[in-house]
Symmetry: C2
DNA sequence: CCTAGTTGCGACAGTAGTGTTGCAACTAGG
DNA sequence: CCTAGTTGCAACACTACTGTCGCAACTAGG
């Protein structure tokens, strides 16, 4: 967010590698940090195939790197929710679509997306924005009879988030639509037989 | 597990404070580490109200402290599941009882209980043992018509674990039975209205 | 009172990670 | 060819945490 903000050709870097290096480092950071949140800069650099000093040239501090990563993921997260039109599409459709879109981003960016409470206010805003849209969607779903009238919507949202999280951990990375179906189906029907509870 | 193993009066320590200090430290460690898994020995010592050196006297290394904590929690975890008679009680009853018992332990020992994969083989054994009993319980539940016949039991277990985890995070620490009811109800019925899915 | 067990405190060495700097080398646009 | 931008490498200072030690002080059983 703070790097490389010049217009495409306003500058003329001898090599455009720098920007690509930043991407490579961010991707490596996500991979390494999702496996071990306490991983060192050395490990991240190694995973990116660059020297540790290069990482420090692009990101002043470790926190700056993680902030950048978090902001980048938050952006994609917000966009993914937007694309699903959660405010206008029919509740059930929106629920499926939001789930599928979010899963697509969250698989591969799980570490960064779980950092909802970073210092960055912009990131916090995205996450609270998503949360609010999620809540409104659930209200619409309840009004439409998709969710039980007596459901605790706070609990519902937590369960929903948890199911999405679990879905991203599946060993076989099934396609996004299948996972979304699984999540929504589990969320709404549970795993019980319809019969006598 | 490695400390203080003499018979009650075989030894005669001038002060029995030592054993109590160990308890105090373990409780403080759980509190501090659940808030920040990377917390230092200094923070743990401060939370326990003792000097850092005292912690090191009781636990040779940081890992030893965490292993002790993990083992202690695993023991309680295994016992909690045992007491619910998950193999013999009717599936639905067992499910409720296991949930309630586990919640009671997990609230307050969440950090230690989440460490299913510590180096300690004894701890790993407890957790795999619990997992197996959970799986068998789910099979019985499915055979009894409590869980849908076409349910993916691996997914079911993950969802179940996740729901228990979420339940322990509730702001208002409602009583264990109410939480267990919430978890089991959500697991089996989801949050959807029975109607047209 | 004497003594063993325990604790706090201060000091220390060792380790691992962070962040900075200078320099040589490489590469592609001009 | 020249040069700006980039990179790797080695070195360095700095910080935080870990683990150990010795000593003085306190406390309770004998």
């Amino acid at each position: 967010m703070t790097q490389q903000e010049q217009a495409p050709s306003a500058r003329r870097p001898r090599r455009a590698d720098a920007e690509r290096t930043v991407r490579t480092i961010l991707e490596a950071a996500e991979r390494v940090l999702s496996a071990d949140p306490a991983a060192s800069m050395e490990q991240i650099a190694a995973a990116a195939g660059v020297a540790r000093t290069t990482v420090h040239r692009r990101f002043a501090t470790r926190d700056a790197l993680i902030d950048e990563l978090t902001g980048w993921a938050a952006q994609r997260f917000g966009d993914a929710v937007d694309r699903a039109r959660p405010e206008t599409a029919p509740p059930l459709v929106a629920l499926y679509q939001v789930t599928a879109n979010v899963l697509e981003v969250k698989i591969g960016w799980g570490f960064a997306m779980d950092r909802a409470f970073s210092g960055d206010p912009q990131v916090a805003e995205v996450h609270t924005g998503v949360r609010e849209r999620c809540d409104r969607l659930f209200v619409r779903a309840r009004d439409a009879g998709v969710i039980r009238a007596d459901a605790d919507l706070d609990w519902a949202r937590r369960v929903y988030y948890a199911l999405i999280h679990e879905a991203t951990l599946r060993p076989e990375p099934a396609d996004t639509d299948a996972l979304a179906t699984l999540v929504v189906d589990t969320l709404l029907r549970g795993i019980g037989a319809g019969g006598g509870l």
